[in-house]
Symmetry: C2
């Protein structure tokens, strides 16, 4: 009989209860980017700490940072000589409003067709909660886990984890561990478990273009001053080459080229054109020539427009000639690109292509390093074994297109190997309306997390 | 002693009172484009009708249309054989909020340095009010005006005067006149009175670009689907040629070329580069090569971006890959361009340049014909004489860059010559924040309007 058996049975028996508990957390609109939700952020953190104490952790507390607090809990009953696993997740979520196209209240979870619909259900409350429930399953049955466990759930992942580096640096002793697990990523399909070995980094910027000192009448001034919205569009149109590669000089200089072995590995799990169309509703795929869809989505850097704003955008017609125009843009980066360097390159390029008839400014909003994890490390093999037990089949390795800046932080500050054990699905709609999380994934995730604690302790 | 002398003296004596009365009208936020201001629209109309009755018009009433009502008043005491002057203005205004950059409440008029600051002060409440005060100055002194006067003040000019054509068609007998006067335009400087002989038309459109069926995570999908905000920028960047002329095929086909005589006339009143920079704050002028600033601003068609919207535009960083992007664009047109035809050309061009990776749609929001008025007509000469008496110097002829679609309507439906007697200043900031109206202009305008009624009756 395996060490994990009793815990696994407990988790199966309490599945419905676990889901209800997750709902309570999902109901708290912990939107980190919006100052109006400051109290909700605190509420979510306090709830998590109380839940950790309730299920049997030695200690769980809400710790202040320069921004939103982190929740830290630990169970160290396995003893000083046992392995220690540090688990990272985040309780903050992206903004969400019915007007964005939600079918139900984003902060009132609803199960439909086997999926839990709510903001943060997949990214990342549901995934973080899996580990609390795995630990509960040990502590409420055998009374102890096979390894020491430290849980660090932060509140600023969606806004760049600005204060986390400082927190880690100030708490290196407290956070000391043998391995770090992050569950904040997705797999393409529930039938094929996968482990992410690389993440993209991020450089998020705002471009501001200014013309006149105030909005003008388009009749009185149209034709003699350069419209900043037009100028912004003209600038943005110069970011890509005809083959959809990025035209910013020096942009690819630091990119680690894909090896043939990696390309072969990624090909095993390529994105199918028909699947992409079905999931997203786009007429056809787009992207950099010479690369597969999976490569474009995870192993190649990008430059996206995240937002555009200028002039009059309400109902009806206002014949204004705007004084300014703004774009939010972000570059997804791959190893070994440096976010700060990319910002400088974009900034210099925009300055170079801005016509003398307007002025422009590029501001860096936040950034995160790209990351690659060694797939041959023993900790990674423990994860492979855990997935195999949780799913019944071997996981495959893949890259993730998204960014988890904290991965680089953990490696650098704690000198610890970082495993990405994602329990999301690519089609969960993270960051968009109708974000959802598979109930089956939630259950298998808990089984896998339970097994991982055993495998990590071997 | 001229017929107008007593009226002119009355106007001088009551100048302060007239200004206070105008303030009452300016305090009503009659924003026609916003359904929330429907009651304010009605309030402004009722106030104007009451004011017309108070100053001695035979009759003044608020008449329904398919949208916001019109105010109609008349004094026909000059008799059946006398000349009848129809005066047009509008009581609706553009939207205005402190957040747009106003220095004081846009709906609480304030006099600073000889200017009245308020939304609608120049465009068009102040200008329309001038004619009511001119008429009052006759009726409250000699008891009669030199000509019959009909006043038509509409409430939908800022949203395309959609219901006015129907109203004019249904009231051709009531509106029958010998000449129509419109005061809804500006002159470059108060020291050089000018009469506008041409107006630009308008084709106002929305472009919608769609990619995925809902917003996506830019990490998960960045690089494999065409970002609609990027695609929109790419589309907009193709609207202009390198010489800043418009690249839409067929766009200039119907443009009546400027005659050498016209170009010489416009050159007398060209826009100075330094003046433009000073007024607007732009670093330098922009526009179509081969034309002077005045020509670009009034005698050449344009394509402006009035608004841009896509994705996340709030504070902070949201790594969204938007599902859609929208631009409001408008073309200022010159004789003999047709707004509907221009819409079709833009629509077809956008369809042609939209890449197969996204879909697009172009909607026509509203439109207005361009207009040219004969500068040699006797009615125009009456206006010239009136300005000369009001100012002490001869006015010059010029073109206006803005649009007053109703000019074409009056010509077509009533078969009446239309005079543009504008009392605004180009620098009044119509449609922008801190719109203002010169107190001196308000006074000279009333003097000129009084003289015009005498000149028109000769």
């Amino acid at each position: 009989m395996a060490v994990a058996d009793q815990a696994r049975e407990y988790a199966r028996q309490h599945a419905a209860e676990f889901q209800e508990q997750l709902y309570t957390l999902l109901r708290i609109p912990s939107v980190s980017t919006d100052p109006q939700h400051k109290q909700d952020m605190l509420r979510a953190a306090e709830w998590l700490a109380a839940e950790m104490r309730r299920v049997g952790l030695d200690k769980a507390e809400v710790l202040p940072t320069g921004g939103h607090p982190v929740v830290y809990g630990e169970w160290l009953g396995a003893g000083e000589n046992a392995t220690t696993v540090l688990i990272y997740g985040h309780y903050d979520v992206q903004p969400a409003e019915m007007a964005d196209g939600w079918s139900s209240d984003p902060f009132e979870p609803e199960e439909r067709d086997g999926f839990i619909y709510a903001r943060g259900s997949s990214d990342d409350k549901g995934q973080a909660f899996i580990h609390i429930k795995a630990l509960e399953s040990y502590l409420q049955t055998t009374g102890k886990a096979p390894v020491n466990v430290k849980l660090l759930i932060e509140g600023e992942e969606e806004i760049g984890s600005e204060n986390l580096t400082n927190f880690i640096q100030a708490n290196t002793e407290r956070l000391k561990a043998d391995v770090c697990v992050i569950s904040d990523s997705g797999m393409p399909a529930i039938d094929q478990p996968s482990i992410v070995y690389a993440l993209r980094g991020l450089s998020y910027m705002e471009i501001h273009v200014r013309g006149s000192k105030q909005d003008l009448h388009s009749g009185g001034y149209g034709g003699i001053v350069h419209n900043p919205a037009l100028a912004l569009a003209q600038i943005i149109s110069k970011f890509h080459n005809p083959d959809n590669s990025i035209a910013v000089p020096g942009f690819y200089d630091d990119v680690l080229p894909l090896s043939d072995e990696e390309r072969a590995e990624l090909l095993k799990n390529d994105i199918r054109e028909t699947t992409l169309r079905e999931i997203t509703g786009v007429t056809q795929s787009w992207g950099e020539e010479g690369y597969t869809l999976r490569e474009r989505q995870s192993a190649r850097p990008t430059l996206e427009v995240n937002g555009l704003y200028s002039g009059f955008t309400g109902e009806g017609a206002k014949t204004v000639l705007p004084a300014k125009a703004m774009a939010k843009i972000s570059c997804r980066l791959v190893a070994n690109q440096k976010p700060e360097r990319i910002y400088e390159l974009v900034r210099d390029y925009v300055a170079q292509i801005t016509p003398p008839t307007v002025t422009s400014e590029v501001r860096l909003l936040n950034q995160g390093d790209p990351a690659i994890v060694d797939i041959h490390a023993p900790e990674m093999q423990a994860a492979v074994a855990a997935y195999e037990r949780g799913w019944g089949i071997k996981p495959i390795f893949m890259r993730e297109g998204g960014s988890i800046p904290v991965v680089a932080d953990f490696r650098r500050e704690l000198g610890v190997p970082v495993l990405l054990m994602g329990f999301g699905l690519s089609a969960d709609g993270a960051h968009g309306p109708d974000e959802h999380f598979s109930v089956e994934m939630f259950r298998r995730g808990i089984q896998t997390a339970i097994c991982f604690l055993e495998e990590a302790g071997r």
